[in-house]
């Protein structure tokens, strides 16, 4: 079975600093993939490269059989790749509902609309008119996830969505993500600091160390010890 997303020798630079050194990774249809690694390992750079926020070599990112490395972010979005960015980055001058509507800017067809997002995160419904940045951290995270879902993505990428959320909400959010993937066939890449959480919510995992993939495998096969070793790059 061919993968929905493949990266082949993906590299990334910030000026003179190289952040990614030839990443080979695959994500299959309906699969949940976790990215594990310490701060600065290149996980966020990997996601922003796929999203087209940084330009890559054309053939180094292939989505649904087509090379997309050199596309503009807007063109990548149109293919159905959505990102919940690190630090949420909601639009401060837009209301909650407008933030969600921005997610649907591409007007891609699919199961997600305002109504379904509000059913998933009922707390947002009553705050729909409020400025997005006036919400609590957890609610803002829900807006960020809802905004990405509104794009009706085929590939949903989440960058540390559990950061700053209470354990109960984290559980809720990942349960929702599981439903999204299994029921709608959406693929997901999730960056998660909590190794145990990352293992339980994913089908496969990649460990990033200093811009390299140091370990990869089926989540159930990867032992905590192996991940810890890869995590610290020893």
């Amino acid at each position: 079975m061919s993968a929905l997303l493949e990266t082949r020798g993906l590299v990334a630079h910030y000026g003179d600093f190289q952040a990614l050194f030839g990443i080979d990774a695959d994500v299959h249809e309906g699969e949940r993939v976790a990215l594990i690694g310490s701060n600065g390992a290149g996980k966020s750079t990997f996601l922003t490269s796929i999203a087209g926020m940084r330009r890559s070599a054309k053939e180094s990112i292939v989505f649904d059989g087509a090379p997309i490395g050199a596309l503009d972010a807007a063109d990548v979005a149109a293919l159905g790749i959505a990102l919940v960015p690190e630090g949420r980055r909601l639009f401060p001058s837009l209301s909650v509902e407008e933030n969600l509507a921005m997610g649907a800017f591409n007007r891609r067809k699919g199961p997600w609309n305002l109504e379904n997002v509000y059913s998933l995160f009922p707390a947002l419904r009553e705050k729909r008119r409020a400025p997005a940045t006036s919400l609590s951290g957890g609610q803002q995270q829900m807006v960020a996830i809802g905004r990405a879902l509104m794009a009706n993505p085929r590939l949903l990428m989440c960058d540390e969505i559990s950061l700053g959320l209470s354990p109960a909400v984290v559980k809720e959010v990942y349960a929702a993500l599981g439903v999204v993937c299994s029921e709608h066939g959406v693929s997901a890449i999730v960056v998660e600091q909590d190794i145990e959480l990352a293992r339980t919510m994913s089908d496969r995992a990649y460990c990033f160390t200093h811009g390299f993939v140091s370990l990869s495998g089926t989540s159930t096969d990867l032992t905590r010890e192996a991940i810890s070793a890869a995590y610290f790059g020893v």
């Binding site: 999203a51 087209g52 926020m53 503009d72 972010a73 807007a74 990548v76 979005a77 149109a78 959505a82 990102l83 960015p85 980055r89 639009f91 401060p92 001058s93 837009l94 407008e98 509507a101 921005m102 997610g103 800017f105 591409n106 400025p131 905004r147 794009a151």
Partner: protein, 287 residues
Amino acid sequence: MNWLDTVIQGTLLGGLYALFAMGLAVIYGVMKQINIAHGDFIVLAAYLALGIVAATGLHPFLVIPLAIVVFGFFGYAVQRTILNRTIGGDILPPLVVTYGLSIVIENALQQTQSADPRSIKLGALETASVPLGGGLAVGVFPLVMLVTAIVVAIVLEIVFNRTRLGMAFRAVSDDREIASIMGVRDKRLFGYATAISFAVIAIAGVFMGIKFTFTPSLGPNFLLYAFEAVVIGGMGSFWGTLAGGIVLGIAQAIGFALNPGWGILAGHLVFLAVLLVRPTGIFARTA
């Protein structure tokens, strides 16, 4: 001096300044950039209108829709071909490039149209006025300018707050990168913003040409008036910009009534006073 009359005349003049300012506010609101050539484009629009009136014999008011369309496309083209290349973190390129455009437009007009003062003739409407009682009267044309400014403010408020395009404008202004991963094509969007700005410039240019006798070198003055009105009003809403234009108009009218040499100066001083006392603008929304 008759204070009430001066304030009324200043308010009406403020309508014109608000039209100057709203075009500038659109570009700043979306791109966070200042178009130094803004005033020169207003002057250019006046020459364009003058040319159309001379060629077709149309009433100047009927030229406005045509000027809006021409300038709208022109603005889109200027943004896509030149100004989009200056977008980025650094503030110097947009300032230098638009300043360069200002020099080019002013001198090109100087060469082709000469430095002789011109004006667009309105005929009988120019002197028509409505009596307010008590010896006061307001000119019909200045009233038309103020009403137009109010209409433009309403339209811009609707576009920015109630449409999909306006939502994208605000999103891009907040976070260009994230807007682009939602599918917003920022460069095209900037083109639309400049098209809207230039449409307002077209209206402002025609009215300016009727109200003032103009020469190619007036552009920088108009830029400063527009800028002052935007800052006095405070960012965040076109109502603020409208109010800022009126404050500036009143300040200039009072200064001018005291001494003809002080009109423009009075406007500048009010602007500086606002900066000192309330740098976010008098009518800024306090978030």
